[in-house]
């Protein structure tokens, strides 16, 4: 809301300065916005030759890349959504306020870890390890949620003194050593389990029984690595949405006889639903465009395969390794720019959707807050 100006000043110089400055700011602002707009225009312009020819070959070349991009993003989201939403629900609704002010920035710090570092760890350290210890890795993935449930059960059976010592509101912190212990336990037991149940080598079993190939760098690795990178962005937005749910809603539900968990599950989650949805959308946008992690951890095989143990090739990674070598104006150049355009449009749409939903939600909360 621009304040109305009182132009009673008697100094024309000041007014002139003001006019000029306003003009400059306007010009600068519009210029910056145009520059941003130029990205879209450039991408469309450079892909026009390809579209003009109506090249079907281009589509055939692009489709495995598109599939790879989706597969990588899906794998990442499969891992990231449960963890990020669980973390968001816990830290918005259960965690002690004291702990929350420390944990939230720490988790958001995960987002700052550069993709190239995560990709290096995933591609050169994690991938060979999982290849040698596939059974252990799968066992860890299965056992972690169970061990969390086990912790809950033990806690409920425990004496009240212990319960007061280790309250649920601090569980996010004191479960860390518990989980570490559980991981260590599984790693210690897994070779024995593999020997007993899978005849000593899970990969051989996969191959002989199901005819599944195993590539060192595969969707599983990409899912874990990129999931790690996506968790903080989903977590942060979903947590905001949940924490903003007016407390009157939850209290009201409890007053009507709902259990605390029912109140949270039915009321808070429903109320924050659109916010959570937009958080997931933002996460999906990030996963689709992430370059270095996929480049380093996916094996870059242009395959149409849904197997979690086979690699894929994403559009972003293809652009990064092939564009510098593509001669400007050539077919590959235009094709890769088309891939960039697809990425641009996709993320832009997804983000816009998320933004609009979030905006609506905020307005609704404001109304609720106003009526209470």
């Amino acid at each position: 809301m621009t304040p109305t100006r009182l132009t009673s000043s008697r100094q024309p110089l000041r007014l002139l300065q003001d006019r000029v400055a306003t003009g400059l700011i306007t010009a600068g602002g519009i210029g910056v916005l145009l520059a941003i707009l130029a990205i879209g225009i450039f991408l469309v312009w450079e892909t026009l030759p390809l579209l003009a020819i109506g090249d079907t070959l281009a589509l055939a070349k692009l489709s495995p890349l598109a599939w790879g991009t989706l597969k990588a993003a899906l794998a990442a989201l499969l891992f990231a959504i449960p963890v990020a939403l669980g973390a968001a629900i816990y830290s918005a609704l259960f965690m002690s306020a004291n702990l929350r002010t420390r944990i939230k920035p720490a988790l958001e710090m995960m987002e700052a870890i550069p993709g190239v570092v995560v990709g290096f760890i995933a591609g050169l350290i994690l991938a060979p390890w999982i290849e040698h210890h596939l059974a252990s890795a799968l066992a860890v993935i299965l056992w972690l949620p169970l061990s969390a449930g086990l912790a809950g059960l033990l806690w409920q059976l425990a004496q009240s003194r212990l319960r007061r010592r280790l309250p649920l509101s601090w569980a996010g912190l004191w479960l860390v050593p518990w989980l570490a212990l559980m991981v260590a336990l599984v790693l210690w037991l897994a070779p024995w389990i593999e020997q007993q149940w899978f005849g000593g080598d899970l990969r051989q079993l996969l191959d002989q029984r199901f005819g599944m190939d195993y590539a060192t760098r595969n969707a599983l690795i990409v899912g874990i690595a990129m999931g790690f990178a996506v968790i903080p962005s989903i977590y942060s937005l979903a947590e905001d949405a949940l924490a903003d749910v007016p407390s009157t809603l939850i209290e009201g539900a409890q007053a009507l006889g709902a259990s605390r968990w029912q109140a949270l599950w039915k009321v808070a989650l429903t109320a924050a639903g659109p916010g959570i949805f937009s958080a997931v959308m933002i996460g999906a946008g990030r996963a689709v465009g992430e370059t270095m992690i996929v480049l380093m951890a996916s094996g870059n095989t242009a395959l149409f395969s849904a197997s979690p143990f086979e690699g894929m090739r994403s559009m972003a990674a293809a652009i990064a390794i092939e564009l510098p070598e593509a001669s400007p104006g050539g077919q590959t150049y235009h094709l890769l720019i088309l891939a960039a355009l697809v990425l641009f449009i996709f993320t832009f749409l997804v983000n816009t959707l998320a933004e609009v939903v979030r905006h609506r939600l905020r307005r609704r909360y404001r109304q609720m807050g106003g009526t209470s």
């Binding site: 304040p3 941003i36 710090m109 510098p324 720019i337």
Partner: protein
């Protein structure tokens, strides 16, 4: 919200305990995220810093009677067979043709750690591991303990002053070697060192890693040019992005008519923060490098064509691309700061007769300064960790010429530069020997993470601190 779940009076007692497990799963999600984060950081810290600790050298005798000396690296299980095998770094590429050796552990008869094993860092053949027999210089000869003394004195001299010196060396299996001292960079007897000597050597290596340039095709040496390149690029980027970002934010928030269009533009800008960085890289390559750069070359640098000046990736284009990439971050943060300023402040200023310019520069901007600063720091943190767009617009595997030097015009915007993130990718995937490069990659990764985390922490504390201060004022 403390320990509420336990006190619940559930209406369906049969599912009550199952229902109460959900919060635990959620709590475990937080714990899992923290566990992964700390595992990553601990891994980087241990491997990144541990690499510089002088490693113990072993002399190994195999069941075949063969002896060799080396540093034990890691062990893996033998495929299809019982037992493990161990990887040794044995150096001596000029004698053996290889630098690594895999040995089945069952094959090892004897392992010892003799104090007289030395490790030389040399070029072009890489490390030597073995024993020092004698030092020869200008007809003189030192042997035994005196040879080691002489070697350390000579190594303290600059390389040009030890041209005539030679080392007589033997490997663990008795092969003799003559090594000109001029090609030797450093010497160690790690098994004979006390812990404080090792600590000293560790500090020394860390310092050399931070302060020296890479050697031997990026497989040895330090990352100083990469640190310098990263920092310079980020500084240039913030110099470009700050005024434009602030200008756009002021326009959007203070001048533009607050209608549907402005709201659309705002959403658009916000969304650009989510557009993949590689897309910006494509834009930078197509428009800045090929478009603007190519034209600049034709107009101003046609005499040096076909060697390009600006028509190739370089510092300027990289900074511009990253500035565009981080523009939304700065705009959004600044706008948030502007929106938080109470309308009364603006109205008060105008009521007292200030023009809009005066109102902006004296009231609004100073109040929004913390938000702008936060925006810029967040932008810097994002830019410092970005690699993908830089691969298209101007990083080099090795750029021995710093972008700043004593030559006019001192700051060379057209030069390529090294970047920590790309250096990491390059040594890990393009290098000659991944196995040899991995410790350096860990160290580089640690450094990069530290820089980015420190920048982010600064932004968080700054925001926190300034908000609280503002809270006191109000």
């Amino acid at each position: 919200m403390n320990s509420g779940a336990a006190n619940t009076v559930s209406r369906s007692p049969r599912f009550h305990w199952l229902n109460n497990l959900w919060p635990w799963l959620c709590a475990a999600s937080v714990a899992l995220s923290l566990l992964m984060l700390s595992a990553l950081l601990v891994l980087l810290l241990v491997r990144g810093l541990g690499h510089f600790w002088p490693a113990t050298l072993e002399e190994v005798t195999l069941s075949s009677g063969e002896t060799f000396a080396g540093e034990a690296i890691r062990e893996v299980a033998l495929p299809q067979q019982e037992g493990d095998e161990r990887l040794y770094f044995t150096g001596n590429q000029d004698i053996d043709g290889v630098r690594w050796r895999w040995v089945a552990i069952d094959d090892i008869v004897e392992r010892s750690q003799p104090n007289d094993l030395i490790r030389l860092e040399r070029s072009p053949w890489g490390d030597f591991i073995g024993r020092l027999v004698a030092v020869e210089q200008a007809g003189q000869r030192w042997e035994g303990e005196a040879a080691w003394q002489r070697l350390t004195t000579l190594l303290a001299l600059p390389a040009s002053q030890r041209q005539e010196s030679q080392l007589l060396l033997t490997t663990a299996n008795g092969q003799a070697l003559r090594q000109p001292l001029a090609n030797v960079a450093s010497a160690q007897t790690p098994n004979a060192m006390a812990w404080w000597q090792k600590t000293h050597a560790w500090g020394d290596s860390v310092w050399r890693f931070l302060s020296e340039g890479p050697r031997a095709a990026n497989t040895h040496g330090g990352v100083w040019p990469a640190i310098f390149g990263t920092v310079l690029m980020v500084i240039l980027m913030s110099v470009i992005v700050t005024p434009f970002g602030v200008l756009a934010a002021i326009y959007l928030n203070e001048i533009a008519h607050q209608g549907r269009l402005t709201r659309l533009v705002r959403i658009g800008v916000r969304n650009l923060a989510g557009v993949p960085s590689i897309v910006y890289g494509v834009f930078g390559l197509g428009v800045f490098v090929y478009g603007v750069g190519g034209s600049l070359d034709e107009w101003f640098f046609s005499d040096t064509l076909p060697s390009p000046t600006f028509g190739t990736g370089g510092l300027l284009w990289a900074s511009l691309t990253l500035a565009l990439l981080t523009l939304p971050v700065v705009i959004v943060a600044t706008e948030e700061g502007l929106a938080r300023i109470p309308e009364a402040q603006r109205e008060g200023a105008v009521a007292l007769g200030a023009t809009r310019l005066e109102m902006l520069t004296r009231i609004v901007l100073p109040m929004a300064a913390p938000a702008m600063l936060t925006g810029v720091i967040l932008a810097v943190a994002r830019a410092a960790g970005e690699v993908a767009p830089l691969m298209l617009v101007g990083v080099a595997k090795l750029a021995p010429q710093m972008p700043i030097d004593g030559e006019f015009p001192y700051l060379h915007l057209e030069r390529k530069f090294m970047h920590l993130g790309y250096h990491l990718f390059d040594t890990a995937f393009h290098g000659e020997d991944v196995q040899a490069a991995i410790p350096l990659v860990y160290a580089t990764a640690l450094l990069l993470v530290l820089i980015v985390v420190v920048l982010n922490l600064t932004a968080i504390f700054l925001r926190h601190y300034l908000r609280r201060q503002r809270g006191n004022e109000c």
